[in-house]
Subunit: 395 residues, 2 copies
C-alpha cells in the first residue's frame, strides 16, 4: 500500500447544530432528520416505489399541477436546471434567459454548453423584469426556450407576471422554464394555470427536506416536444423520458435508471408530508408574514432592504443592504460564533453589498424573525464599536 | 387550489428492514444510518468542508491514489460515469468501451450523446476480455478514451489486466476510465500504480455508504487534458474543474458550485472511516473469502456459477445460474417474503438466466454467506415442490 489510511478518519464525526438563516439550506425538522436513519431500500423495492409515488403526489400538490411527468432528479437544485435545459434544447435553439441575479447567467452557461444560441433580457439593478421588457425581448429574439427564476436567491428579487409570460410563450411557440428553487412555499405558484412548461424546486429551502434530490415537472406540451427531438438529450442521467419511466410517470413498466438514494427519499417524503399537512396556502401566508415582520424590523433598525419595491421582494430570501463602513463578514462571523446562527453575505451582483437572511421552512416563524433581527442588530453594533477608526476613515 | 393535498402523505412513512444481498445497494451499518440524522450544514460551512476534506483523504486511500482531483459527484454511480465521459470527451473523439455486461453499453450510450465516435470490444459470453482482444481493438480503433468496468454487476465478471491496459493506454495516448462501482473493496485496485486516468466507485456497495454521492478521481494527465479542451465540458453540474474547485482540489479558493447534501456526506464519511479502520487489505481479503465460501456452497447445492473461470469471478456480486425449470422470480419472492432477504435476478444479458447474490460491506460475513445459501436452497426446493408439473414439462 503506497497510500496509508488517513488519520483524520480516526476522529469522530463532528456536526454542530446551527440555525441556518442564510439563502439555504434551511434546517430540517426532527421528523425529517430521524426519517433519514431508516434502513436502506433497493431502488426497485415496492416500498421504495411506494414512497416515490407518494412524493410524486406531494410534488403535484406543491406545484399545483396534474402533469404526468412529475418526478425528482437525483442531484442538487442545479441538476433540476440541467434537466430542464438538456431535455428541451437542441443544437442552435435560441434560449432567452431573464436576469435578476446570478441564476439567469447560470442557466445561460448550461444552455450554451448544450449548444444553444443564448440571449439575455436583463432587469435594472435591484429590479425584476417588467412585462414590457420581456415582451420586447421575445419580439427581438423569438426564443424557443425562456428561462426565469421566480425568486433569485442572489438578490432576493421576486419575478412576477408568470401567468402573462406563460401566455406570451404560447404565442411564440416557446417553452417556459421557471426555477422555483428559492421561491416555492414563499409565494404563490400555479404551474398548470400559468402554463409553465418546466418547473423545479430546491428540496432544502422552504420545503425543509435534505439537499440532493430535486422535484421537477414537465408539461404535456414539453413532453411531446422532447419525445419528438431529432437527437437524444445530451445527458443520460438527466434524460426525463428515462428518469420518468423509472418514476412510473408514463404508464409503462418501470426501468432501472440509476440507484436512487432511499435516504433522501425518506427525508423528502416526510418534509412533503409535513408541508401538505400544513397546507400550501397557510405555508405561503406564514412565509409572507414572516418576511413582512422582518422588513419592518429592518426599517426600525435603520437598515434598508436591497430591493426597493416591496412587491418585488422574495419572502424566503431577504436581501438587506450592508450599512456603510460595516464589514458584512464580521457581522456574519459574530452571529455564527456567538449564536451558531447563519446570516449570509451576497452572491454574484450583491457580493459585499448585502446580507441575505433566509426565512424558510422551520425558520419561517415569528420567533426566528425576532431572534435574527436582534442578533443582526447586536452584531452590527458590536462590529461598529470594535472598529471605529476603520469606519470613520471610510466615511 | 385545483390540486388537493394527497391523502397518501397523511399515512406514516413505512420502511421495512431488509437484508440487501442483491447487486446493491447493500445495508448501511448502524453507525452510518445514525450519522445521517445529524443536523444539516451549509455547503460552505467550515465543518462541512472539513468533512469533505476527510472524505477526500478516505477516497485517496481506497483508490490508492495521490491525485489532487479526488472528489465526489453529487449523484448516483451513474453520475460518476457521466462525469468521466463529459469531462474527457470532445466531439468526434473515438471512445472504445469494453463489454462484459451492460456497463460498457451504458458508457457507450453516454459517450455517444456527448458526441463521441463509439467503438466496442466485446468479450465472449460469460468471459472477461483477454489482453489480446483489447490490444487488437486498440490497434484497430486507436481510441482517445478506453472505458471498462473492473467488475460488471450485471454478469458478475471481474475484468483483470488493468495494469497492462494502463500501459497500453499510454502507448496509444489514450485515457483509461475504470468503473470500480461494484468491485472496489472486493478486489485489489491501485489507481496510480496501474496508471488509471479516471476511476469512480459506488458508495452503496462494498463501502456501505448511502447511494447518491459518488467518489471519483482524475489523474494529473487527465486533468491537464481537461484544462486544454477546445470546448467546455457539456455539463456544468459534472464539470470537474468547477466541482474540484468546490472540493478544494486545486489550491484555489473554494467556490459555491452546488448545494451538497451534508446528510450524504455524513453517511459517506462514517462508511469511509469504518472502511479505513478495517484496512483495505483486510476488507478485500474478507470479501474474497466470503465469495469463495459462497461458491463452494453453491457447488455443494448442485448449482453452477455463471462465470466459468474462477479467476474472472467478481467477489462482490456473484452470478449463479438459475436451475432449469425454476422461475427465479419465485425464488426471490420466497426469500423476500419469508426472510426479508433480497436475492436478485439478472440484468441485461443475464436477465432470466441468473441469480445475483451480493456480498458487500456489512453483508460480506461468513454468517450472511451461510444464511443466503440456506435460504436459496430452501427457496428453490419449495418452488420445485410447488410446481412439479411445470418443472417436468420443461425437462
Amino acid at each position: 500500500m503506497e497510500v496509508p489510511p488517513p488519520l483524520v478518519l480516526k476522529r469522530p464525526l463532528y456536526v454542530p447544530s446551527k440555525t441556518l438563516m442564510g439563502p439555504g439550506p434551511s434546517n430540517c425538522s426532527q421528523r425529517v432528520l430521524e426519517a433519514m436513519s431508516n434502513p436502506i431500500l433497493g431502488q426497485l423495492h415496492p416500498e421504495c416505489l411506494q414512497i416515490m409515488d407518494e412524493i410524486k403526489e406531494g410534488i403535484k400538490y406543491i406545484f399545483q399541477t396534474l402533469n404526468d411527468a412529475t418526478m425528482c432528479i437525483s442531484g442538487s437544485g442545479h441538476s433540476g436546471m440541467e434537466a430542464a435545459m438538456s431535455n428541451l434544447i437542441e443544437d442552435g435553439d435560441v434560449v432567452l434567459t431573464g436576469i435578476c441575479g446570478i441564476w439567469g447567467h447560470r442557466a445561460a452557461d448550461m444552455a450554451r454548453r448544450y449548444g444553444a444560441d443564448v440571449r439575455y433580457v436583463e432587469a435594472s439593478f435591484g429590479r425584476s423584469l417588467s412585462l414590457e421588457e420581456i415582451k420586447f425581448a421575445f419580439h427581438t429574439h423569438k426564443p424557443r426556450v425562456f428561462f426565469m427564476a421566480q425568486g433569485d436567491s442572489s438578490t432576493g428579487i421576486l419575478q412576477g407576471h408568470i401567468r402573462e409570460i406563460g401566455e406570451l410563450c404560447r404565442q411564440y411557440d416557446c417553452f417556459l422554464v421557471v426555477d422555483v428553487v428559492a421561491s416555492l412555499g414563499g409565494t404563490e405558484f400555479f404551474m398548470d394555470e400559468w402554463k409553465v412548461d418546466v418547473a423545479y424546486t430546491g428540496s432544502q429551502k422552504a420545503l425543509g427536506a435534505p439537499a440532493g434530490i430535486t422535484p421537477i415537472s414537465f408539461s404535456k406540451r414539453a413532453l411531446t416536444h422532447i419525445r419528438q427531438r431529432k437527437t437524444k438529450p445530451k445527458v443520460y442521467y438527466f434524460d426525463i423520458l428515462l428518469v420518468g419511466q423509472y418514476w412510473g410517470c408514463y404508464g409503462m413498466p418501470r426501468i432501472y435508471h440509476h440507484t436512487i438514494s432511499s435516504t433522501l427519499l425518506y427525508g423528502l417524503r416526510e418534509a412533503l408530508a409535513n408541508f401538505c399537512a400544513m397546507g400550501l396556502k397557510s405555508v405561503v401566508h406564514r412565509h409572507k408574514e414572516c418576511s413582512t415582520r422582518l422588513q419592518l424590523g429592518i426599517e426600525e433598525l435603520g437598515l434598508e432592504m436591497f430591493v426597493a419595491h416591496e412587491s418585488e421582494r422574495l419572502s424566503t430570501v431577504n436581501a438587506i443592504k450592508v450599512p456603510f463602513g460595516v464589514d458584512w463578514r464580521k457581522v456574519a462571523e459574530y452571529a455564527m460564533r456567538k449564536y451558531n446562527l447563519e446570516i449570509s453575505g451576497g452572491l454574484g451582483p450583491t457580493v459585499e453589498h448585502v446580507f441575505r437572511i433566509g426565512l424558510m421552512g422551520e425558520n419561517a416563524t415569528v420567533e426566528k424573525v425576532d431572534m435574527v433581527l436582534s442578533i443582526l442588530h447586536e452584531a452590527i453594533q458590536s462590529i461598529k464599536q470594535r472598529a471605529p477608526n476603520v469606519e470613520r476613515s471610510k466615511i
